[in-house]
Symmetry: C2
Subunit: 108 residues, 2 copies
Amino acid sequence: MNAEDKRIYKLKAEVLSAAGHPIRLAIIDFLGDGEQCVCDIADHVDAQRSNVSRHLGVLLNAGVVKQRKDGLKMIYSLSTPCILNFMKCVEGVLQVRAKEAAVLLEML
Amino acid sequence: MNAEDKRIYKLKAEVLSAAGHPIRLAIIDFLGDGEQCVCDIADHVDAQRSNVSRHLGVLLNAGVVKQRKDGLKMIYSLSTPCILNFMKCVEGVLQVRAKEAAVLLEML
DNA sequence: ACACTATGTTACTAATCACTCACATAGTAG
DNA sequence: CTACTATGTGAGTGATTAGTAACATAGTGT
């Protein structure tokens, strides 16, 4: 694995770990229904505004969301809808996990 | 967003952030070609064995990989191949990012 | 100009993570 | 049994991250 590969993995890891936080995941899910302003996002994910603002900054920085100003409000939306697709795969992983847990339970 | 939702987002975040590290991403990519033992993985991703062992523990814990013992060796493989698919989407995000960076460059 | 609202930022603390080194364990081969 | 190999784990350190409170900024309406 050369230095070039490492750079690319680092970039990809940035995107994935941006998505790898409960609040940010909730934000992504919420934005799947359409663009939203910070205050509505904060209400929906049940967290403080400044905290949500931070998380949005992380997502923006990773390129997962984009922003647009509308008067006083800053409107956020998903930069590409495929982000929602890979949640399906994540659910698949969780299903495998759950199945294995069930098998272990049987063994007791 | 109720407590149940939060639990599920936390689980999903666990899977995503398990994938959100350059070395672990390289491991996932490598396992895409087929199962591998720890020592070969360590050689391939160019990191120390104990460190790789740790990262594999994280992936295992998240349910991203599974393990199988073969004599002295512990063989790891992807628990579900769809994990490779969502890399495509990550690449899409990076493309959007690159495009925006190019646009910004034009403006200078 | 003033007060008000939405957002972002600074500074700080607590928590988590990554990495390394040294050691422990399990299996293999002589 | 002994030496060796592959893997995993505890302890420690430095780096990164999450969350909060207080403040700064930008736009709106009177």
